[in-house]
Symmetry: C2
Subunit: 252 residues, 2 copies
């Protein structure tokens, strides 16, 4: 396992749990490598030249920024090497490695929050059908939802995921800030947040849309924009998104 | 019950269920009034002059745009009149009615999706402590979470709710559109959406934030912006929100 961040940690623990032997953890930070290695009962290093060369599979689970350099500097070239990134094309391995692929778990991972992989979609791609099958079999050890998905589609998934997860969490953060301003507890809107997420299990998001912009309730929109005078960035966001929603639903 | 929209429908059904007698449904649309009245086993009208004058409580559950006119034209002036709006101040009743208040259920309501009120925060306000207590007692018949909250705080809650619910649902809608473009199923990101919402039950949104902007992964951000060339509105949103997230987390 090359990497020691959230994805590296959760994925290697999930694999370890179902009996997949992790031989070694590599991380530029020796401390981080050690912390993860201790959970997995394996060795660790921060030197690529000390990389264990006998593994069946090398999982590169680092930021996209760090991937090109790591791929180039790997001391092995003929073993199966994969990355776990949503947005990096499989082409990144071209002309450096001979066997390569992708193993992209579509989920948000945080430190110190355990997660059940069973329900996490895993998107697989490889430069040979043999290795695609190997990765699919590996994925199915931890998840019920393993799909073969090419780089172009995977990128669409990742962009969608940023909106549906990272940006929605940022809106929870804005909400929390607005409530804290008035000494109100964030707990007050937790039921709302959960119902909003649950609703799209049974309705598509167009049917599920509610709120002042959807109803074209300009009175409320203008009250809210006034309210946000002290938060110009949030005001700009509110205005922009409301006008998009209004436009979308007025067409229907 | 004056109104026949989502809030009016769900709220009157919840009250009806616990034995609160709804005497009559009023709606400008006679058909809508009738549909709801049939569920409640009560009379209905689309004429304010035919309003039942014997009720203990008149609940105005209409859009904020429609509230001022309705409040002015109510044929009763000395009974308890309340609205269910998040953003309309209690002052709207001033000098028209003598007993008035607010009963604001903080939740997203959709037609044809049943909802359990037990967990829904209800925000109460009234112009007398007697009536505040009456409304609190009424709220507690359907919910375990009834709070006295003034108009200013209620507005903060409503703005926060728009971000945490309406705008997040809009992002589910964008995600759905991006997936549909590539013939990918929306089901693929449902586990992600749910985990994102579940996560803030145990972590605050700052701790829960993940994604390229949080990590400052400019490589991915730029790939995603390129990908969104065919959706300039979403591209603008992506750029704006990512820069806000980057700024917020780079300060820490």
């Amino acid at each position: 396992m090359l990497g020691s961040g959230n994805v590296a940690t959760h994925l290697s623990q999930a694999l370890h749990k179902v009996g997949v032997k992790i031989l070694q953890v590599f991380s530029p930070s020796l401390t981080h490598a050690q912390i993860l290695a201790e959970k997995l009962g394996c060795s660790f290093t921060n030197q690529l030249k000390s990389l264990n060369l006998t593994a069946d599979l090398y999982i590169l689970s680092v930021t996209d920024d760090a991937l090109p350099e790591l791929i180039k500097n790997m001391p092995i070239k003929n073993s199966l090497v994969i990355h776990t990134s949503g947005s990096t094309s499989i082409n990144i391995f071209d002309s450096v490695h001979t066997r390569y692929g992708i193993f992209y778990p579509l989920q948000t991972f945080s430190k110190e929050k355990e997660i059940d992989f069973k329900d996490i979609p895993i998107c697989i791609e490889a430069n040979s059908s043999d290795d695609a099958l190997k990765l699919k079999t590996l994925g199915e050890k931890i998840s019920d939802k393993v799909y073969l998905i090419n780089s172009e589609k995977r990128k669409a998934l990742h962009v969608a995921a940023v909106f549906a997860s990272n940006f929605t969490n940022y809106f929870y953060l804005i909400a929390n800030e607005l409530l804290t301003d008035k000494k109100l507890s964030f707990d007050l809107i937790k039921p709302l947040i959960n119902e909003t997420a649950l609703k799209i299990l049974s309705k598509n998001p167009e049917e599920a849309q509610t709120g002042p912009a959807k109803r074209g309730d300009d009175q409320i929109i203008s009250t809210h924009l006034d309210y946000l005078n002290s938060h110009p960035e949030y005001q700009k966001l509110y205005k922009f998104i409301s006008s998009q929603i209004k436009q979308k639903f007025s067409k229907q």
